[in-house]
């Protein structure tokens, strides 16, 4: 018999998927209603029916490196129509979460990110880091951390105003954040390398592609082609059950893009021209407008997500991974806006405190990125690009 697949169920894997919110996976009786219902599943070798049996048999090797789990946008049509309550949408979400941990490596850090009991530890890391590094520098006479920050006076300015860099110096912040970003990028790079190899191998084994090797030039072109789809959320909108989720998701995505752009812009302004914030003179300029609108989008988007998850608690499994991410995004937006508002209101203590919390949030965002659900940004994008490249059949 040609190409026999040796079945070796991993019961531990089934348990982990259950903990990630896929507890209904064993209810599946393989009717394939899900695959029929799914608006974005391909016509050949459609998901999620095959993923469901692989999950209930504990066949980790068929799932973790399976690009199809990333093509799912978790709209929930399948879960709504499932006659057995097996919730394929949630099972796929749980498998994706497992895959994120799997490719991220650093299991200890992954555990801190994804275990609700470890949340205080996670929060403590940046809180302590900023203070400790700041103090260490202070020992060497570098005052990047000032507990009684001075006001900044510009020309003809008698009263002066608050500037956050007088509290945590931009040098300190950027030193830490750039390190964190490098860590994140490295983790992602290592994960992505394995991920891409795995999904290609899986596609070859399951006969989903004709491409024997990944040609990076073509792959990059496919990636470029995928970007409009992602930005427009066109796959997302094909999903039936919760199209209303597309808008908040888009708000959050564009919020992040906007903020990243503004951050980059001022990074250049600071290190290129050497002008320090808070750039109050530019308050009505387009660039500040983008920043503020993005921040507001982030807050509203995440609040809407929170609301819809709350409303759907019966139909959709929400676990810590989901609440963590929404909570973080929301906290990020709120602390960011409050930092600005309290600064403008000249409430010195409050604004420094909130700024401190905001920095913690940003740090957590950076280091948890490869381990949290937010990693879908990278893996789904890659899987969609691969799908475009491989011409899934």
């Amino acid at each position: 018999m040609a190409d026999k697949y040796l079945v070796e169920p991993d019961i531990g894997f089934i348990k982990e998927i259950s903990e990630y919110g896929g507890g209904s996976l064993k209810k599946c009786f393989q009717c394939a209603t899900c695959s029929v219902a799914c608006p974005i599943s391909p016509d050949t070798k459609p998901f999620p029916r095959k993923e469901m049996i692989a999950a209930s048999w504990g066949l980790k090797d068929k799932l973790v490196g399976n690009g199809d789990i990333w093509l799912c946008h978790n709209c929930g049509d399948c879960s709504t129509l499932c006659p057995r309550g097996a919730k394929p949408g949630d099972v796929l979400a749980a498998i994706r979460m497992y895959a994120i941990s799997y490719y991220a490596g650093f299991p200890a850090l992954g555990k801190i990110v994804n275990d609700p009991k470890k949340l205080p530890v996670l929060a403590a890391i940046p809180a302590v880091l900023f203070l400790v590094i700041g103090m260490i520098f202070k020992l060497f006479g570098v005052h990047w951390l000032n507990f009684s920050p001075q006001r900044v006076f510009e020309e003809n300015d008698k009263i002066g105003h608050i500037a956050h860099h007088m509290f945590f110096s931009t040098w300190l912040v950027d030193l830490i954040f750039i390190s964190a970003s490098i860590f994140t990028v490295v983790v992602f790079a290592l994960g992505l390398k394995r991920f891409l190899a795995d999904i290609h191998e899986n596609a070859l084994r399951e006969g989903k592609t004709n491409k024997q090797k990944i040609e990076f030039k073509e792959f990059f072109q496919a990636f470029i082609k995928t970007i409009p789809t992602i930005l427009k959320h066109s796959k997302f909108s094909e999903c039936g059950e919760n199209t209303e989720r597309a808008t908040p998701h888009m708000m959050v995505l564009f919020g992040f893009i906007g903020l990243a752009f503004v951050t980059g812009f001022f990074f250049l302004v600071l290190y290129g021209i050497g002008i320090h914030g808070p750039y109050d003179a530019l308050i009505w300029s387009p660039i500040k407008l983008i920043a503020n609108v993005s921040g507001i989008a982030l807050i509203i988007g995440s609040l809407l997500m929170l609301k819809s998850r709350k409303a759907k608690q019966e139909d959709q499994v929400s676990t810590y991974k989901d609440w963590f991410l929404i909570g973080l995004v929301c906290a990020l937006g709120v602390t960011g806006m409050l930092t600005e508002l309290t600064r403008l209101a000249d409430a010195a203590f409050l604004t420094y405190l909130i700024y401190y919390i905001h920095l913690m949030c940003v740090f957590i965002l950076f280091i948890s990125l490869p381990f949290s659900k937010l990693a879908h940004l990278v893996y789904r994008t890659t899987a969609m690009a691969y799908n475009e490249y491989a011409g899934r059949k």
Binding site: M1, A2, D3, K4, Y5, L6, V7, E8, P9, I11, I14, K15, K26, K27, F29, Q30, K45, K50, I53, A54, S56, W57, G58, L59, K62, R84, E206
Partner: protein, 778 residues
Amino acid sequence: MDKKYGVYICTGCGIGDALDIKSLSDVAEEEGFSCQSHPFLCGKEGVELLKNDIAEKGTNTLVIAACSRRVNYDAFHFDGCIVDRVNIREGVVWSHPRAEFPALTEEEKEEGDKFDRVQMMAEDYLRMGMARVGKVTLPEPYLLENFTRKILVLGGGVTGMSAAMDASKAGYDVTIVEKQAHLGGNVANWRQQLPISAPYENLIPTVVADKIAAVEADDRITVKLETEVARIAGEPGNFTVTMKTPGEKIEFDVPFPLPDDMKVDENGKDLDVDAQHAKYLEYNEGRQDILQLDPTGEKFGAVILAAGWRPYQPEEGEYDYLGLGQVPDVVTNYEFEQIAAKGKIIRPSDGKEAKSVVFIQSPGKGDDSDFAYTGAVTSLVALKQAKYVCDDYDDGKAYVFYQHMRTPGLSENFYKSIQQTLGIFLTKGEVTGVSKNGSKLAIEASDTLLGENIQVNADMVVLATGMVPVTVDSPVINLAYRQGPGFRDNDLFDGYADSNFICFPYETQRTGVYAAGAIRRSMTIEESVEDATGAALKAIQCIESANRGVSVHPRSGDMTFPDFFFQRCTQCKRCTEECPFGALDDDDKGTPKLNPTRCRRCGTCMGACPERIIGFADYNIDSIGSMVKAVQVPSEDDFDDPPFRILGLVCENDALPALDIVGLNNLSYSADVRLIPVRCLGSVNVIWIKDALAQGMDGVFLLGCKHGDDYQCHFVKGSELADIRMKKIGEALSSLALEEERVAQFEVAIDDYDKLPKIINDFVEMVEDLGPNPFKGF
């Protein structure tokens, strides 16, 4: 009984509008019958009219021309009176609407050469009804001289014990006969059983211990262990049962009929009757004849057959490719249960823990059929046994490969709970082979839900082989009947003791013997317990019918029974041999001996008898023959272009109701047919057909149930026998220069009503094409 006749015509339900009631009444009066019509005969006033006539005028033989006899049965039932229901509503008016069959205009009536087909039809039916009542009498019940209400249960397993307790609760004394030295049957050696109550999710200890305790505590139940029946003689209400120790040889062991190959001499020629009888005696040397009653035998009224099943024994090499018999760790589900009952699941080969077990539900080999004698129960057993593996070992893994996963009813809950067990893995798929792989077994499967050819390595393999009813191996019931000790043609049912699984559960081909449990089909314990109740109720129904001299089933309550005019019997044995229920025995001369409580009143004997000496009080050769003769067959002397006359003999069970539905739905068929209901096509005696053709009718058709392997005949063999007889009559017809096609038989089911008009009309058209019967007018 002196008959005083009365004809009553109902003019309601459209009858009065469609028919000329005056002419119809004249038909009755021409025959000397008093005739009255009423617009609403089944109403209070109409029934009063009939009752008055019965009370005051002494009318006791009523011909009621109104609706079908299948409706208003109670309204038109009068104690001590013969009633014939002439169906002019469904059978004439409703099925022959005036829009299609217009009445004659006044001018046409004057002309004299025109005729009204529908009016003719109604008039013929009235004549037929009047002819019939002249030839029938009121039935009198046959009462047994000796009668007992005791019930015999064969088999002391769950089914037998449950049936015994149910019968006991209803007030009947019961004796359980069990071959083995203990009660409990197969279930006695099981670890656990499937759930029998809500929430139907978890395995439970077997019910056997409780059942045994309850049976032993029941004063009405006698248990005979290490006993089997040597023979059951007699008839329901009065069976004489001889019991013996299993294996023992006694004079009352039941004799077997002579096998066919012993009925011929060396040259293959049939032996004559005497030679056959001599051979028969030789063949059954040392055994008493069936008619010899055991003076020490115990009396019983009815028998519940709950002898159960045995595990399937694969033939030599049958499942070699699955490793059975090749590798010790490949076992059947029966063997696996015994391992499980002893303690933790261990491998037979080396006694090591069996932590991964593959359950195979279908033998594969290119088709998707399951093992023989399986069903929902074997699916459920695989799930149960898979659970054992996970119960015994925390890291246990059980794989179930199935082609069909059948978990009917609430056992779906059990399936769901099994699905939730982490270590149980289910897939549809074809297992292609099992082989040794180091210390493990390698199981290969294709076409699985996993989408590719797969291999599983496991410690053990379990094959879901079936539950073979013990009736496959021996007759079990050992009836001292001339037709033989067991059920006839039981291979039609793969050896299961059943006469018609869907329509008549519990019924067997022998009245008074009711099957329950796994001898009927593979069943779970829960189903068997329920089945036992059904069979117990049937046994009680049988006893309480036999004591009143009425039929049990399917003509429940029929008080008639076949009556023989023995002076003219030629001892041809056809009745004995053709009776579908073995109701007739014969003595060594071949004279039939009727056992009325075995009889189901189908009349197959009446149809079989070449001497026409068998009949029933209200249904006999003469009564139907007279109806045939009462049909007026117009010839060219009457009209220039006389209408054809075609006789239809219609089975009461499916075809007649279907015809009523035709009327109810205002479908129409030819008005040239005349239909006569018969109890079963098996009761149709060819003389009626000859009579019909001899008096000039142009064709005869029989409407009855499907026959063959998937027969639907309510009397098992009736329509099949009719078919054989019709083929023979065809030869006789051609010798008379009549076309064989003039006689035909059609199969209809009750839901085929929409096809009936076409069947009838096509036959009429075909006969019209043949031309009129050349004997017409003679």
